[in-house]
Amino acid sequence: MAKPPTSGGTRPGGGRLPLARLRDFALVPAILLLVVVGALIDPVFLSSANITNVLQQQTELALLVLAEAIILIAGKFDLSLESTIGLAPALAVALVIPAASNGLGTELPAGLAIVLCLLTGLAIGAFNGLLILRFKLSAFIVTLGMLIVLRGLQIGITGGQNLFDIPPSVLYLGSAVWLGVPASIWISGTLFVVGIVALGYFRHGRSVYAIGGNTDAARAAGIRTDRVVWVVLMIGGLLAALAGLLMTGRLGSVAAAQGDGMIFTVFAAAVIGGISLDGGKGTLFGALCGVIVLGLINNILTLAGVSAQWIQAIYGAIILVALILARLTSGKAQD
């Protein structure tokens, strides 16, 4: 052999893993720094109430990022998540509430609402999968179209109204508190743990990385690539619907614009967290860190009372810098 295979020159001979692992923890110092800054700006920052708030406010974003991260790792794309988070609960609620409350008049049993919501998400993911896998369309294009269609459907179904008359079952998950911590935090946290374990230690989870890394190789190695990607897209829709449930419960209504514009933040969080848009790269733990970083920045800007006029520019600039740092520190600085 020409020379020891230490190409890249950044990693010491044997210790391949520690560094790869380290990269997963790349955002931890940033999070610590933000915590210190937050504490300096306002002592309230460290109060358990505030920390709980920050986490709870990020739960829906976290679930969307979880969904998008898995989809990106599989080498695909889903822009329509931001519409699913609104349409899935809207449709479910409209199916169970009376027409007088802007329902569709079907008045199905209220207990079914949660199931209907999750099924809607699943169905959207399945439909995306159908177009992407059977018709071999680009995921970007399909989900861009779906983003517009699904939002339009929500407006059509609800007549553009916010839905207020939400059955308690639908509100429960987003508003309950378990052991002193909001249920939504438990749920998102658990799902992230499940995701991390599944993608790290299960055959099917690893196959998601293989598919994103090289679909042809994965297929030749006996992975049912289409089936796995399809399942991933359906899980994505399911998670977005669950996020919609949590948001509905937290805000007490389904806004007609629920989730509108969120997809940009979802991508920002995923990329800051080290997920590659080329597929096959990044970890869910990193993605979670990305979500937390954005949540902390938001909270600190609010606590610091940054002027409303400049808050968006400052927030954007911080995101841009974070994106650049994430790209530069994640090894190869290549497109």
Binding site: D42, V44, S47, A49, N50, N53, Q56, Q57, A100, I155, G159, G160, Q161, N162, F164, L171, S175, V177, P182, M247, G249, R250, L251, G252, S253, A255, A256, A257, Q258, N298, N299, T302, L303, A308, Q309, I311
Partner: protein, 324 residues
Amino acid sequence: DSSSGGSGNQAGSGPQIGIDLPRADSDFWNSYAKYVPQFADEYDVNLMSPTNSQNDVSKLVANVQAMVSQGAKAVVMAPQDTGAIASTLGTLESRKIPVVSVDTRPDKGKVFMVVRADNRAYGQKACEFLGEKLGGKGKVIEFQGSLSSINGRDRSEAFAECMKTKFPEITIFEEPTEWEGAKAAAALQTRLAQHPDIKGVYMQAGGVFLAPTLQVLRSKNLLVPPTDPKHIFIVSNDGIPQEFEAIRKGEIDATVSQPADLYAKWALYYAKAAAEGKTFQAGPTDHDSTIIDIGNGLEDQLAAPLVTKENVDDPALWGNQIGK
């Protein structure tokens, strides 16, 4: 000339009237949309099918151009972006097509009539109500709309001005929300952690902020009757049925009812009158309001009552009529 084959539900005879709805994603405007055909019937207006500009001024311009092509003799619109409509108003004026503007007052360009409640009055009324309830001191959080909305800005400015002059000891936290409930909920949570002694909330749009606010307060066990010292006084804005319901339950204390029914009613009335060549003068009207001259046209300033527990069941309120 209705023979031009313009599509739509021509209910009545006479000149065609075009109407554009500003958005389909707010309860207030959807209520307005529901009143439009009802009053069109009542006044026997030859109404074209309403278009919707989805809060996008360039769509509004496109819609108005299409209406004019289809033979509209008067146009009712609600330009949410009051500057960007100037050149369209100029075109319409040159074609002698009168315009009735609902809810907003275009900055430039000729209008026949503005049908609008006074948004500054909303902020003012909210401020006075809260100031009084809080006894002139304490902390208040205000959910502003979008900085780019004129109505939002009017409310914010009037609220701030009134607080500064009448209740200088009240601290206000102004939260920009882009009209998003999620942003309001996040801000409320954060502020309550930072300042547990917040005693008042002013939300500039009940349709968007009501449910999230109640949800946050409920989770913090702060939804208590006004007699409880922990009670937080809440003033809302819009007058949708859900707000009335919350007032009855004692969850919020007041709202300024923005008269969606009157907006639709008088907009169609003035549009028809304009198309028929009638004119109006500044001065008091027969329906409890005053017409003022605003330079580029007239403005009928409709009454916007403050609704509290005392008058929440008044059947004259639009929020009590809808869905019945």
